[in-house]
Every structure is written in structure tokens, then in C-alpha cells.
């Protein structure tokens, strides 16, 4: 009987972390269901040794593990068959080192992004992780999902400024890679494998990051256009200009509905600039007459918060919407945006998007028309058709959609590289396959 097995597992976990940090009663666990699948137990370890012991118990008992931090991204991935252990990182919440003079910080994986960002902000430094729901999202979750926000334009993805990592492998080995300095080629760059691995290669314990100087002054310039074509033409003018924006966004007309305080029915190119009055004056001059709004202060902060949380806002407003990201080659952006609109319309889904116009990483949504509840196949058909129309090497990854729809298509789509080689990595780090089974490619 499963409950007897669960009780035994619970006792073993309690012997590692103490009774108060294990839960195997249904009611509280229901709040931690992933795609409707309630974990059999949760456990909250406080250090790498405890994590390693938990992972070893899981291996012995053939129990699956899902790792959870702020629980903001668990809608990603396939529906889990079962979750035997939900490993919560809440107690891995220490700042390990913070060296403002060196512009580096090391934090445990359960630390909340918002807390780390505010901490370094007090010293006028920036950790450019402007991800959705940053007050709840954890360091580990952002690494595992390779989450990103509008600052990606200037600072790159988290892969570009994570300089060290420690983790426990799927069979309980405690390991680290990288280090605390900003330049380092000693040993394999296991950070790159862990980032975006969706919790399938290891349990992330802590990570070190490069920090940047926070901009002293910024302004946001919004230029509006009648169609994608003219918006993207303008993007190209800015892209090949001497300007070096902090953020550089494309916003589709319908996306404005999810923005706080903005009403605009057109296609927008948004440039956020930092610098002195003289530098900002140069932006005004270069960006020219196409700019219809200039934002500063509270209004500007609110605007970027809306950009950051766009996918979440859509989801909150329409429980049955599909949110996905597109990673594209920049020159294919217009073509793909047009295709995405069409593929949506054919399935009675309204398309909207907000994203990094120049690096072409877009956060997109298909929202069902309010008149009739959508059939799950509409989502499968829309994303399936869109994937067929994507240029080679582009990806469409579904972040959220109704659970029932996941039975009809892969939320991940085709891998962007040799699957067999990826499987070899999985085999090396999680040989028994107990980390997050069924939710990623393996």
C-alpha cells in the first residue's frame, strides 16, 4: 500500500532533517500540486549534506524528486506521473559571500531573487535577474529554468553572469564548478549544463554571480507603429545605430492590455537608456520623431514591472491562456510574429507578445476568445502549426497552458541540438533518472 511506503519514506526523511521539516499529510501538500499531481511528501533540508542524504534515500527507494523554490515556474514541463518527494529549498537561504568591491555575490538556491536584488541595490549594484514574480522566485528556480527578463538585452542571460555553482547530482554526489572570480577556465563549465536543465541533472545548492553597477539614471522611450513591419524596421535602425540601450523591447498591440497604466493599440518599440542628461539627450536625438512617450520615475518603474511580469499577468487574468517563449534569430522576428498571429487566429486564439526585440527572445501568449471555452486541441494545433512555420534553429517552449492540453503536444518541442548527447549528460549526472522524471526531455 502506497501510504505505508510513504510513511516509511517520511520517517527516513525525518531522520535526516527532523520531523518538523517533513510533511506527508495530504492537506498542506495539496497546495504544492504540480499540474494537479500532489506530492506524496515534502522535505525541507538546510544544507548540501542533507540534500545528498535525501537524494540517496530517494535512489534506494526508487522515489522521484521534484525540487521547488518559490513555486513560480512549476507550470513548466510535462505533467509528472507522480512526485514522491518535493524537495523544498526554503531553508537554503543564506548569503554565502558578498563582495561589493569585487562585484560578486554567492547565495544559496532558496534565496528569493527580490531579496538578493534589493540587498545589492543598497550598494548601487545590480543583479540583472528581472524575472517574473521576482519577490517569490528563487535563485535555484531561475537557474534551473533559465528565466530571463528585459535586462537580458544588455547583460545576456543568467548563463553569462553565473560564475560558480554547487549542486547535488541525481545519485547524491556533492559537487561544484566554477568559482568566485569573474574570469575562470579551470575545469568543466557545469554551470552551463545546470542552467536551464529544469531540475533534471541535480539539485542546485548555491550559485555565485557577477554583479554590475546599477544605472544612476534611466529613461524609457516608446515609439509606436501601425504594423510589425514598420516596428521592426525601426528596431533595425536602432540596432545598427551607435546607441547601446539597457533594454530594447517589442510589444504587440494586445499586450498593452496587460500593462499597468498604459493604453496603446499599436506596435511599440521601447528603448530604455541609462546615463547622464547629455547621454539621454543623445538618445532623444537619435530615436527621433517616432517616440511618442518618454517615461521616467515611478511611471517608468511601473512600466518595466509590467514588462517583467507580462506572462504572469496574462495567466492570472485568463486561467486557460497559453504562455510560451520564442527564441529566434533576430532577422526572422517579423516573419515569426506574423506566423504566430495567424496560427492563433486559425484556432480562435488571440496572440500577444512582449519581448527582447534585438536578441529575439519573446514572451508570447495565446488567449482564448471569451465567447466560448477553448478545446484543448486548439492549443496543440496553434503551437504545432507555429512550430512548423518556425525557421530552423528557432524554438517555441510552452511555459504555461491548461494541464489537459499537455496530453496533445510536447511543451518543449524539438531539442536544439543532438538529443543523444543530451541523454549522455543526463545519464552521467542522474543515472537512475529520479530527478523530475517526465517533465523535461527525458
Amino acid at each position: 500500500m502506497a501510504s505505508v511506503a510513504n510513511a516509511q519514506l517520511g520517517r527516513e526523511l525525518a531522520s535526516i532533517v527532523g520531523d518538523e521539516f517533513v510533511c506527508d499529510t495530504a492537506a498542506p501538500l495539496t497546495g504544492y500540486a504540480i499540474d494537479g499531481v500532489r506530492p506524496a511528501t515534502w522535505v525541507i533540508p538546510q544544507n548540501a549534506n542533507e540534500v545528498a542524504a535525501i537524494v540517496r534515500v530517494a535512489n534506494e527507494r526508487r522515489a522521484s524528486i521534484a525540487v521547488a523554490g518559490g513555486f513560480t515556474k512549476q507550470s513548466m514541463g510535462g505533467v509528472p506521473a507522480q512526485i514522491d518527494i518535493l524537495l523544498r529549498t526554503d531553508r537554503l537561504n543564506r548569503v554565502l559571500h558578498y563582495d561589493p568591491g569585487d562585484l560578486t555575490i554567492g547565495v544559496e538556491s532558496g534565496c528569493r531573487i527580490g531579496d538578493v536584488v534589493s540587498r545589492v541595490g543598497q550598494d548601487s549594484l545590480l543583479l540583472p535577474l528581472d524575472v517574473p514574480r521576482s519577490q517569490q522566485a528563487s535563485i535555484g528556480g531561475v537557474l534551473a529554468s533559465a528565466a530571463f527578463g528585459p535586462l537580458k538585452h544588455n547583460f545576456g542571460g543568467v548563463r553569462d553572469y553565473c560564475i560558480g555553482i554547487s549542486f547535488v547530482t541525481g545519485d547524491g554526489k556533492i559537487a561544484k564548478a566554477g568559482g568566485r572570480v569573474v574570469k575562470n577556465v579551470a575545469g568543466y563549465d557545469v554551470m552551463k549544463l545546470m542552467i536551464g536543465s529544469q531540475g533534471t541533472l541535480g539539485v542546485i545548492i548555491a550559485a555565485n554571480f557577477k554583479l554590475f553597477a546599477a544605472p544612476k539614471q534611466t529613461r524609457t522611450f516608446i515609439a509606436e507603429f501601425e504594423d510589425y513591419s514598420s516596428a521592426i524596421k525601426y528596431r533595425d535602425t536602432v540596432r545598427t545605430s551607435p546607441l547601446t540601450p539597457l533594454c530594447f523591447e517589442l510589444i504587440s498591440p494586445r499586450a498593452n492590455a496587460y500593462f499597468d497604466g498604459i493604453t496603446n493599440e499599436r506596435y511599440s518599440i521601447v528603448v530604455r537608456a541609462s546615463g547622464s542628461d547629455t547621454v539621454l539627450a543623445r538618445y532623444r536625438k537619435e530615436l527621433g520623431g517616432s517616440v511618442s512617450h518618454e517615461l521616467a520615475g515611478v511611471e517608468e518603474t511601473r512600466f518595466w514591472k509590467s514588462v517583467q511580469d507580462f506572462g504572469e499577468t496574462v495567466q492570472k487574468r485568463h486561467q486557460n491562456a497559453m504562455v510560451f517563449v520564442l527564441h529566434l534569430a533576430p532577422a526572422t522576428l517579423e516573419q515569426v510574429m506574423v506566423s504566430a498571429e495567424q496560427c492563433g487566429l486559425e484556432q480562435n486564439l488571440l496572440y500577444c507578445c512582449v519581448g527582447r526585440a534585438s536578441v529575439a527572445s519573446m514572451v508570447c501568449a495565446y488567449v482564448p476568445l471569451s465567447v466560448d471555452p477553448p478545446a484543448v486541441t486548439q492549443f496543440a494545433n496553434a503551437i504545432g502549426e507555429l512550430r512548423k512555420k518556425l525557421p530552423p534553429e528557432a524554438s517555441a517552449i510552452v511555459l504555461k497552458c491548461p494541464r489537459e492540453a499537455k496530453a496533445y503536444f510536447s511543451v518543449w518541442g524539438e531539442p536544439n541540438g543532438d538529443l543523444e548527447a543530451m541523454r549522455a549528460v543526463k545519464q552521467a549526472l542522474d543515472p537512475n533518472g529520479f530527478l523530475n522524471p517526465g517533465r523535461f526531455l527525458f
Partner: protein, 477 residues
Amino acid sequence: MGLLEATTQLRNLLGTDNVLSRAEDVMLYEYDAGVDKGLPGSVVFPATTEDVSGIVKIAVAEKVPIVPRGAGTGLSGGAIARDGGIVIVFTRMNKILEVDVANQRATVQPGVVNLDLTSAVEKHGLYFAPDPSSQKASTIGGNVAENSGGPHTLAHGVTVNHVTGLEVVLGDGRIAQFGGKVAEGTGYDMCGFFTGTEGTVGIITRITVKLTRKAESIATLLAIYNTVDDGANSVVDITREGITPTALEMFDGLTLRTVEEATHAGYPMDAGAVLLVELVGLREAIEEQAEAIARVCLANRAREVRRARSEAERALLWKGRKNAFAALGRLTPSYYTQDGVVPRTKIPETLRFIAGVSEKYGLRIANIFHAGDGNMHPAILFDMRDPSQLERTVAAGAEIIQHCVSVGGTITGEHGVGMEKDKLMPLLFSESDLEVMKLLREAFNRNSILNPQKIFPTTRSCRETGAAAISPELRKA
């Protein structure tokens, strides 16, 4: 069986002209720009990815090691056939396959020389940002394998930040593709992982890289100090000021005088140290940053801050920097360069520590390094004809590296581990850390034929470290 049989098969595969095996031919490939040597059994020149795959299959069947090699400018022995075997040289795979201006990408074969890519794309206002000092000779395949840096990687990132796609031949001869013009997508970040694996998990046969747009404005400053400490403190304060120059290089007085005698770049002969600072970006921003940097340097007792007034002056200052290690050949028959990194606030104390080591061992040490990211390059000057000097040099080098690690740094910032620093890895990594990395190596290199005896500490005692291999003019940083 073995090398002899492999060589016969390689001749059949590639043609006789593309396989070298006579001792006098393969000897040219036994060293790199570092201190180690190893004689290959044969040297092969593939023309295609399929050739490389065929070579790997032959090597697997005959159980012969394979070592990929670019231009041989590496400093850590990555391209040296430590266990003999087959060295693969990419001079025939040296084509730029595509320049995609709209997407700012280029796809190249591994044998393309770093600087040649920039030369090919600069008419579009683009360049390839990673710029190791060896960039006139070193290949992009080698840069990717070593995850090379360079003086201008401070703001733009090292090689891994610029690779978006790779084609790789794995340890069983299978050809695998990762990424392309779009780096991100579904699956593990294999491009990121493969970059910097020093030829131990696969052989890179095609690379797609980002091209960077040239900035509108460039400012090159030279801050001159009476003491090394003042220069080092300026680096800490520039970082604190929130300015990220594209390059921030420091030379000490010994290097300075040597470089000036060699290049006549206009460096002061009597200074204790200089900082070479470069800023790129929007004209207005650069002017402000240049002023701020001058202010910081003067506040740290710079006796003068000069600014290059023309492209010619700028080029001369950089010529001095890029040829600095070669210039050291005027001072000494041999030198040994370390590549440790320290947190930037630890630069002043590390330089004092190096001065102490110099005194302790009775060896002159010249410092010329990437100060902006704390990447130290102390060059220990010695005479290889004196065995006691060699011994002291090695001991002094080890002490400096241990210091770098003890203050939170690392053993190599850009030169790689190779066979030079494999024994230092336990300073940074536990057995368990190394075991996990080895599992990843074995995932792609089950037959252990890809660049064996590299990166991971070996138990071998008879490492061939010929002082005679040290060639001052080949020393680059």
C-alpha cells in the same frame, strides 16, 4: 594494431600528403607556446567533418589517443600529445562558411584564424570580440576549446559568451550539432558546456559565433604611477565607480621599461606602473567615463593621465601591450607566466605578495596583466641553463598560484588547465567535484582517446617538462 596500423588507415582515408609520421616532420608539433612537450606518432590534416569522424573511428579501433590542435599558441599544453598518438591539425579546415550580417553571426571552420574573422567582417562594422594576444595566429577552434579571453573581454565576455552553435565529433566518431544562430532553445546548453573542455569531450568541427557591432567612439587612456600600489588601488576604485572599461591592463615598472625599449610606444621609462584603459561606446558616454577614470586615477596619485589623440597613438600603445611578453625576451633567456585570477580588491595585496616571492627566491618577476578582471600574469624571469633557477621558478610559480586560490581566486583565467596545471586542480576542486566532471568526460569519451591526461590530475610521475622547450619569443599572454 596500434599506431602503425592507424597510420596506414589514415593515409588511405586522407591521402599520403595529409598524414605525417616521420620523426623530423612530427617534431614540429611536439610543443605549444608553453613549457611542455610530447611527440606525436602521426600528424593528420583533415579537410572535412567526415574526415575528422573517420580519424576518430580509426583511433578508437586502434586504441590510439587523439589530440586536436589549432595554431599551437596555447600556453597550457592543451594541444600537446602527452601520450603520443594522432595530432589533428586544422589548417585545411580554415574557411569562413557564412557571414550573416542581419543576425550578426558567422559560421566558421575551426582552423580560421581569430583575427581573420574580424578582418572579414569589419567592412560591415562588425568584429569578433574575444581577442587573445595570440589572435594573429590562434584559431577559433582553439579559442573555443580553451575558452580564450583577451584584454578586451572585460566588457564583452570571453569566448563562451560569443559561441551560439557548434558541430562536434564525439569520442565514438559520431557527429553532433548543438545550437546554431540561435543559442537558446529546448534542451541542455551543450554549446556552453563544450566550450572550454580543451578537446577532452569532442573535436570541434564547425562554430557559429556572435559578431559584435563596432562602437561609435573609443578612448584609450594611459595612467602613469610612481608605485604599483597606486595603480592597483585605481583598479579597485574604477570597478567601484561602476565603469566597465572594455580593457583595463596594468604593467609594472620592469615590464614598462622593457616594452618601451622594444616598441617605443611612448611609455614612461621611470614610472612604477601604468594602467592602460580603453572605453568604447556612445561618444557622450565615453567622454564622461574618460573624465571619471582620469579623476579616479589622479585621486590615487597618478602623476599623469594621457589620452591617445589618434588611432596611430592608440595602436602604438596596444602594440606595446600585445608584444609585451615577447619584449621580455630582452631581459631574460626564459620566463614562466602564471595565469591565476584574484578578486579585484585583492590585486594590491597580490602584487605585494608577488614582490615578496620575487625577493624570497631571488628571481625577477614582471607583471603585465588584465587588471580589470583580476587576471594576473606574473612572468618569472630565469635562466634555463641554471637548474637551480628552474627549480626556484617552479616553486615561486606554485606559491603565487596558491596565494591566488587562498584569496578566493582560481588557477587559470584564460590559458586553460591542459597538462600544465592538472596537478593544481585539487587546490580548487574536491575529489567529488572532479569525479562529476570526469563522469561528463566519460559520457562522450568512453574510449578515453580524446586528449588523454589533460585537465584532471594524473598519477603519472614522469611528466616531461623541458625547460629547453621554453621559448621566449613564443610566450604570449
